[in-house]
């Protein structure tokens, strides 16, 4: 069958692959590139387990064709940590026990990252609505919402110098 050649960037690495015209990005990631961190829970864009970031936008990779990845920048769960250093969200999910079985975790982490890149001070309601496209059947979301809120708090602290630190700076 005729395949389409695609050049793209995945987690900062230049990547090339060939795929069928009707093949989803999720199938390409999982079956052609061995990036099985993105999961298929439904294949219809209802569960968010396959969430990836494409050119800065949160996308269900089961709803996007592999061929549409041409020239784009794609971020997946495999690229979230920097080497051995976990992304703050990953660490907070562990600290808050915000996972049980872990199948929804990659998608939720990607979705949460996408939220915090836009809004570093979300309300609980904003967090709940932002991740409403990511189904979790184990946790009841309580610890997930807490982990995201706590990450945002820490990230704000780090982003803005504290008042004391700011005063010090002025003195210096």
């Amino acid at each position: 069958m005729f395949q389409i050649h695609v050049s793209t960037s995945i987690n900062g690495d230049d990547t090339e692959f060939s795929c069928e015209a009707d093949e989803t990005l999720l199938d390409v990631l999982r079956d052609r590139l061995g990036l099985t961190g993105s999961k298929e829970g439904c294949g219809t864009g209802d569960c968010g387990a396959c969430s990836v970031i494409v050119d800065g936008r949160l996308v269900c990779s089961c709803l996007m064709l592999g061929a549409e990845a041409e020239g784009r920048e794609i971020e997946t769960i495999e690229g979230m940590a920097e080497g051995q250093k976990l992304h703050p969200l990953q660490q907070k999910f562990l600290d808050h026990a915000a996972l049980q079985c872990g199948i929804c975790t990659p998608g939720l982490l990607i979705a949460a990252k996408s939220l915090l890149e836009r809004n570093d001070n979300p309300t609980e309601e904003e967090v709940r609505y932002w991740i409403a496209g990511n189904l979790c059947r184990c946790t009841g979301y309580d610890k997930i919402v807490r982990a995201i809120m706590d990450t945002a708090k820490d990230m704000r602290k780090q982003a803005k110098p504290t008042k004391a630190a700011a005063r010090k700076k002025v003195k210096a």
Binding site: M1, E20, R30, D31, L35, T36, G37, S38, K39, E40, G41, C42, G43, T44, D46, C47, A49, T76, I77, E78, M80, A81, L86, Q90, F93, L94, H96, A97, L99, Q100, C101, G102, I103, C104, T105, P106, L109, E125, V127, R128, Y129, I131, A132, G133, N134, L135, C136, R137, C138, T139, G140, Y141, D142, K143, I144, V145, R146
Partner: protein, 750 residues
């Protein structure tokens, strides 16, 4: 070195148990490295797909696979013919994984294909020609029980009656539990309330669809990698279905993306194995979400009558229930558990529960978290709530007055040991939630729930490495953090840091048989076995120290992670730590390991009380959960975070069951909402935080006091939410789910 039941439970302090330690499988799960069912591949692997019946009930006259077999890339096709004779205990499973003479429900498997690509398999599936003769069907439990209903299985004669009927029907079995005289009890009551309730089937809703990779060799030996709650069960069932020796099949449990009972049986594993046998290549099958909903186990839908009598002071004089559960196309619904659990929260003189197991043209039901109990509790706790309202009594006081306590004779027979129901009710009464003010269109509901809990066959192996670390192999798939809990119990017992123990789920060739991860048994039974295995290893470590010191082994004790002379008479010897003894293991007799093989008893029953506030929108019928608090007895919380997680997760699954989730069948008997868009499980924006209050009444049957916590949490929510909505609406709700149309109907708005 086995523990003394009841003697050492909780009369000690702990170093690791009760602490919120990091989870050993956590890093892999937040980085995408963890390998679940669908994440495995093999060289030369084929893709398997399953053709499913589009009819609710149909005779299969002929299957022609010749055109499908001609598709390029197709290497094997199987139908029921490829599954030969098998042991009786797996006959229904054989019929369920591949329809034989009849397709019994919409989604029933009829054939399967393995091909080099999914596209080729898909194309081949379309070319399989099945000649069906459509038969009349029935999907509703009450309809299925009528004499006029189409009989699904002409060989099914109701069991459990005084006389076995001569005519086949859809009623598989009748059960009865109870004691005393309910009629006499009703006469003693000041008020008797009776209602009929209906609940719709719900699905476990695990986010990971069933997935497996099977590989059969020409030598008759095979391997399966799959997401399951019990890989030993998968091995035994698949070996039985394919006529293999158990030792010829090795099953490895992948990480499992949720199960909740739904992965305690097989669906695709024997099919992949049969395809692999035929193709002589590895075959991977992954269900789609639609297949999961159409063909893997939902719960029963039910129809339940409950009648309860109460005195003006709140004393319950009698309780009577008739429960009708349809379990899909095969006998074996959870109705006996429902009937046994219905009145378990109450210490009653006169009680009776009758259950009917009914078959319909629906997928074979599978266990779902406390199977059968939530619906029974929903009906009973709704009637208790109604009595409290009518007699203007406080619902918690009434429950405190009538609740089962230590030594109560359970409605299903046995006497309870030490139990924590009263403690959960007291915790609920003292909680600020109970005193919080309610606004317009808002209501509060409370309900209690019970689950039996289970022990079961368990085999654990513990190895002491020469550097003083420990490997712990267990055979119960980790569905929500059990490796952390079990590893911590072993570390506690050995007296070493928790991160020196690596706990893994070993394959079926590495351990003795382990029952599936069910019945809330893992932290209890695998934990108990891990403690015993650690004690076994400690005995051997003490013997090594005794040898080094040249003193009798009886003169050595183990304390705080080291062997020590038990008294000054034993001589002056510097204590030897586990690491020090392990370093010399080679010179003192070889490796040190501990084992435990048991059929664990003493699981310790579990109770919970839930409290929920809801608000109804009288214009749309939408119900909002405002506040939710769980009070549950954990016996001893080994890892409190994961205990809270079980409480919260169960409550939210209950919220889905109460408000949104339902199997919707058309008149044609086809499932109309086989996807996550229309089968709507709760999302984050539907919910508030779920407060989890851990009550600890130690289980005398476990050395640390552990009770299983996984299942009880889904038992009270249906009733608690219905009581809350009934209170807000001012009408008794008697049907689940309480979706907007049904609430509007109850309010008389439509």
């Amino acid at each position: 070195m086995n523990f003394q039941p009841g003697k050492d439970a909780l009369k000690r302090s702990f170093d690791i148990v009760g602490k919120r330690t990091p989870r050993p499988d956590g890093l892999d799960k937040v980085t995408g490295k963890a390998r679940f069912g669908a994440d495995m591949t093999a060289p030369g692997m084929l893709w398997g797909l399953i053709l499913r019946s589009p009819h609710a009930h149909a005779k299969i006259k002929k299957i022609d696979t010749s055109r499908a077999a001609a598709v390029n890339g197709v290497h094997a096709i199987v139908t029921a013919k490829d599954f030969g004779p098998c042991p009786d205990d797996v006959l229904d499973i054989r019929e369920n994984v591949m329809a034989r003479e009849k397709a019994l429900y919409d989604g029933h498997a009829v054939a399967a294909v393995a091909a080099t690509s999914r596209a080729a398999a898909k194309q081949a599936l379309k070319l399989i020609e099945v000649d069906y003769q459509v038969l009349p069907h029935v999907t509703d439990v009450d309809e299925a029980m009528k004499a006029s209903a189409p009989v699904i299985n002409s060989k099914l004669f109701t069991k459990g009656l005084d006389k076995t009927p001569k005519k086949a029907s859809n009623i598989a079995e009748r059960f009865e539990f109870g004691h005393g005289d309910v009629e006499k009890g009703f006469k003693e009551a000041d008020l008797v309330v009776e209602h009929t309730f209906k609940t719709e089937a719900t699905h476990q809703g695990y986010i990971e669809p069933h997935a497996c990779l099977a590989s059969m060799g020409a030598d008759g030996r095979g391997d399966i990698w799959c997401c399951t709650q019990g890989h030993f069960m998968v091995r035994n069932v698949c070996a039985g279905l394919l006529g293999m020796d158990a030792s010829a099949l090795r099953v490895t449990a992948s990480e499992i993306g949720g199960g909740f009972g739904g992965k305690t049986t097989v669906f695709i594993e024997p099919v992949a194995l049969a395809l692999s046998l035929k193709a002589n290549r590895p075959v991977k099958i992954v269900m789609s979400r639609s297949e999961v909903l159409r063909a893997s186990g939902p719960t029963s839908s039910t129809s339940i009558d409950v009648k309860i009598g109460m005195k003006k002071d709140g004393t319950i004089t009698a309780g009577d229930a008739t429960l009708r559960y349809q379990g899909g196309a095969f006998p074996g619904s959870a109705v006996p558990y429902g009937a046994m659990a219905a009145f378990a929260c109450y210490d009653l003189k006169n009680v009776r529960a009758i259950g009917y197991d009914v078959i319909t043209n629906r997928p074979k039901q599978a266990a779902y978290r406390a199977p059968g109990a939530p619906m029974a509790a929903y009906a009973v706790e709704s009637v208790v709530d109604e009595l409290c309202k009518k007699l203007t009594l406080d619902p918690l006081d009434v429950r405190l007055k009538n609740c089962s306590t230590d030594g109560s004779k359970a409605s299903y027979g046995p006497k309870f040991d030490v139990i924590g129901l009263k403690a959960t009710l007291e915790a609920a009464k003292a909680h600020p939630h109970y005193k919080a003010k309610l606004g317009k269109n808002q209501g509060r509901g409370v309900a209690c729930g019970f689950w039996f809990n289970f022990g079961g066959e368990t085999s654990v192996s513990l190895t002491v490495n020469s550097d003083g670390t420990v490997g712990l192999s267990v055979g119960t798939p980790d569905i929500g953090g059990s490796r952390a809990s079990i590893g911590n119990m072993a570390a506690e017992e050995l007296g070493i840091p928790h991160d020196k123990v690596r706990c893994i789920i070993a394959d079926t060739a590495s351990l003795g048989y382990n029952d599936v991860t069910d019945g809330s048994r893992v932290t209890f039974a695998s934990g108990l076995a891990a403690i015993n295995a650690a004690r076994d290893a400690i005995g051997k470590l003490c013997a090594r120290a005794a040898g080094i010191w040249d003193i009798p082994v009886e003169a050595v004790t183990w304390e705080h992670g080291a062997a020590r002379p038990s008294s000054p008479n034993a001589g002056k010897h510097k204590p030897m730590t586990l690491a020090e003894i392990a370093a010399q293991a080679g010179a003192t007799g070889g490796p040190v390991a501990g084992h435990c093989e048991i059929n664990a008893e003493g699981a310790g029953v579990s109770f919970a009380t839930h409290m929920v506030d809801t608000e109804i929108d009288p214009d749309t019928g939408h119900v909002k959960i405002l506040r939710y608090t769980v009070f549950q007895d954990a016996g001893k919380a080994i890892h409190p975070s994961y205990v809270e997680g079980q409480f919260q997760g169960g409550a939210v699954q209950g919220i889905g069951w109460a408000l949104n989730e339902e199997y919707i069948y058309g008149k044609d008997g086809k499932l109309q909402n086989a996807g996550f868009l229309d089968y709507r499980i709760p999302v984050a924006s539907d919910l508030p935080m779920i407060d989890a209050v851990i009550v600890e009444v130690p289980n005398p049957g476990h050395p640390y006091g552990v009770r299983g916590v996984g299942e009880t949490s889904i038992v009270p929510p249906l009733a608690a939410i219905s009581n809350s909505v009934s209170s807000a609406a001012g009408v008794r709700m008697t049907q689940l789910p309480m979706s907007p149309p049904s609430v509007l109907k109850a309010l008389g708005r439509i």
